[in-house]
Homo-oligomer: 312 residues x 4
Amino acid sequence: MTQLESPIRHAVITPDISVTELIDQMSGCAFGAGRLAEAVDIYTAMLNERECTRFFGLAGAMVPAGMRNIISHLIREGHIDVLVTTGANMVHDVIEALGLHHYKGSDLVDDIELKHNQVNRIYDVFLPEEHFTDLEDFLQSTYSQLSDQTISIRELLTHIGSHLEDKDSILKSAYDANIPIYCPALQDSIIGLQAFLFKQNAKLVVDAFADMKEFMDICYNATRTGALMVGGGVPKNYILQSMLITPNDFDYAIQLTTDRPDPGGLSGATLEEAQSWGKVGERARSMTIYGDATITLPLLVAATISRIGEMR
Amino acid sequence: MTQLESPIRHAVITPDISVTELIDQMSGCAFGAGRLAEAVDIYTAMLNERECTRFFGLAGAMVPAGMRNIISHLIREGHIDVLVTTGANMVHDVIEALGLHHYKGSDLVDDIELKHNQVNRIYDVFLPEEHFTDLEDFLQSTYSQLSDQTISIRELLTHIGSHLEDKDSILKSAYDANIPIYCPALQDSIIGLQAFLFKQNAKLVVDAFADMKEFMDICYNATRTGALMVGGGVPKNYILQSMLITPNDFDYAIQLTTDRPDPGGLSGATLEEAQSWGKVGERARSMTIYGDATITLPLLVAATISRIGEMR
Amino acid sequence: MTQLESPIRHAVITPDISVTELIDQMSGCAFGAGRLAEAVDIYTAMLNERECTRFFGLAGAMVPAGMRNIISHLIREGHIDVLVTTGANMVHDVIEALGLHHYKGSDLVDDIELKHNQVNRIYDVFLPEEHFTDLEDFLQSTYSQLSDQTISIRELLTHIGSHLEDKDSILKSAYDANIPIYCPALQDSIIGLQAFLFKQNAKLVVDAFADMKEFMDICYNATRTGALMVGGGVPKNYILQSMLITPNDFDYAIQLTTDRPDPGGLSGATLEEAQSWGKVGERARSMTIYGDATITLPLLVAATISRIGEMR
Amino acid sequence: MTQLESPIRHAVITPDISVTELIDQMSGCAFGAGRLAEAVDIYTAMLNERECTRFFGLAGAMVPAGMRNIISHLIREGHIDVLVTTGANMVHDVIEALGLHHYKGSDLVDDIELKHNQVNRIYDVFLPEEHFTDLEDFLQSTYSQLSDQTISIRELLTHIGSHLEDKDSILKSAYDANIPIYCPALQDSIIGLQAFLFKQNAKLVVDAFADMKEFMDICYNATRTGALMVGGGVPKNYILQSMLITPNDFDYAIQLTTDRPDPGGLSGATLEEAQSWGKVGERARSMTIYGDATITLPLLVAATISRIGEMR
């Protein structure tokens, strides 16, 4: 523990340095820089291990912020085997897939004035309220093919993905790649609100627990497992809790978060704490990166895919 | 805006000061103290307004931390009309209701050693793994009465509450008081994992969208509305999004959170941002208190019930 | 470590509950509530131990926020033996002592408009720029008695305190009680800027290191020591580093902070880390409370002085 | 304000992407990514403007973490005209300059055991206590040439820098480049503790206010000004307060911080708040990046020097 073997190597920055070289420089540093470099090592090992089943947890408003293509490209490149996310990220993915945009805005604004202009705000992103009309038309049209069925949430999302054309869409990419998307709180989104409205006049039952069997089967059958979790919330917990009823535990775990452990919530819980539950393995390689994931996720992905040399 | 009318009054602390008197002292202060005092004013007005429908959002590990009785007493006193929470809080409520305990522990521990001792950790709370056996027996027994039905998540939680005896239980108190508990991501908890296991040999369909109609009816029919949200996550978003498809918006809104706006997620979003969406009204009284809710919730509740003079 | 001896006792809140009773309820809880209750135990023990020399570190904009009387009363009651603070807190203490006010404002404002109205903002506190004219007149008048001397920063602050009349002033209370105030970065304040302007036409030398001897003598001669630190910054480090060149270490240490350990700075460093340096003793009682000190300091002080039963 | 002109462009990550290209991708994104890209624009403009006087504020444990060469190279390249920092960063700069190392360690350790092994911890950096013996010998030897003088803190640091050989040293680089280093709280460091010990037997007066004239002259004479501030604390405030007594205000301002505005302290105060004081100009370009500066500083510097194409 107290061995003094690796001196801090101070980062040297040169013009035109690549992200991979920057991470190499950070690998001799401490604090967040050192942790990020270590996370790149872990993510590289995780993607390089062929038999590893890779889970990706996506919380936070990552799609409105511009992280959509990173996720969809990771899916298309085969780096995500299971995606667990929030309804909101899927809502915003569909909006973009319909050719509608989110806009760069500001957080220093008069929100009442925005409302009067029918602009919704997500921190410094602006979204015209009229986009929701197109979204709702699309969803109702899509749902109309589903009457008189009992399906799972995963099946509902696969169905939506099958109706999209946009190759950069997360839902479409997952559909094309046959990758399941789980979204335990789908009700908690406009996709859910529209499903409720559809159900007023149609018989559609979305069974909340229906997709847990296939999710658990994936976990149960996996030889080796790894999880990259962006934010906490339901996606993080849902991925980790899978190990409570299977004999496995995660061999790799990385979380990118702004939450700290001290308020006690699961979102900010350390990956060490997850070891006490048997969710993360005793010999797992794990790392937490504190900070805004719109900065740390692109860095992590850029350095990792450069190392494994294959993303296009 | 730039009028200088209210000088800062420096807080004076006296021995044996009551919480209400302390909040009065804080009302002349700025930063968190001033915001907390303002939140007490808002919560007092919200509880005093008879026609106001009061929503309570409960995220975070509040039950393991010791906040359970505060919630159940608020329900029993009639201060909560609708509770939206996480599966985890309900899991830990049932554990306590079965006479099992959470224990004071430490966050400075060896989690591998904890695991070997079959103790699960939630920050500085310890939970013996064997408690889950009793919990699972209880849940399976409770579920066994539900075969061959299609029910909503709210109905499932009401059913569980009806089987508990503990007056301090949130589920039992809600059952007794006929207060609905919504939990959109119930799958994301041991209650959900056990429902999945039960479904392996039984026909139970829990319709993910089934309880949205009654939830929306409550929102639609409310004359006046208020929300107190502890933490963010699904409970916060689910409460606020209800206003997107009703003509109403919240008249009162208070959030106790450790999340900041800058990472862009909904959990840390300001209540002003919610105004741009029409979730919180233009003339609403709203306040965000930053900090650990195990400190700020008891303070808020203690001062408010002292003012309205009725909690027992 | 993994003994399960103390079940979580869920807090029960009753109308008209006192702060001390609330802390008693929190003592059975976890997370921030449990930590706060433990800090009250430690602070009570620290104030009750007669031979204990009590250090108080005051960073952050605590005086503008309304915490001034709490500090000055602690001094007058004999609960602070050494105060280490920032220049800014002393600047705002003098402003109030001159009968000038800080005002409750808002953080949601147009700062350019504020500037045009000659109002300076400190988060949600407003300060009229004209107050600085009175402050500067007072300081120049006070400094004029100090020409041709070499004095220490502590002596300069004592001198300023001797010219104030306001019993609620921190500087005046410290002067009356013969309590030293150390402020290593006094240049970093308007008191410093005015000293610089005074020096343009006068010979006044304030020796940066002159008061370290008396400070170190206090540390060296102390039998037992305790530190309550509000915020980090220079006050925290200056208090703790004293133990690097004395054979002592702190027997009690409490910090109220919003900084976390992970960015690596001293402000957020744990008190355990301070043990590796020998600043905090191996058997010390120590506690960190995360959160806004305008909430946690009044709570801590109210409960502690109620227990020791003596503050007036 | 509510114009919707710039759609979010989702970041596309390719293998071997350079840091500059990554920042270009981030420039179409929101949240932290968008803010970082904007900060690169601002820092590029600030470094490209010939008549701009550039201030650099350095707080936090940036030298122990491995950021030393970035700072010293910025000085050598002419990108820093005035450095304001903490005593601790200078202490650790001297330790490295003496050929001694900081070591990569861990934050998950037993600090009592570390103490028994005479290893001091700075989050996940380990520092052998014996290094301080060499440091103290060096400082006492250096101070011995200064007896019977009254000098400023800046002069003391220049003197120390003149005795170092290491080109990567911040103190040495500043000495070679004739760049002043200001450190208002030098007492609050081991350099200060050793100066106090030296003074026990020697006449050395370090005038706390002596270097404010040259600092203010720089501010007063500057045509255009820019500030890059890493962390808050004394360096941030000292840089910004300079504008209170000069007719200027900052034309460029960037802060990299983990502090938020809501606790009210200066460290987390927004740059908009600084406009109300006239510290940052009405038409200034300014940006705050929230996050660990060991990640954001290398990114900011790498992209900026690539754009201006000159750092070696």
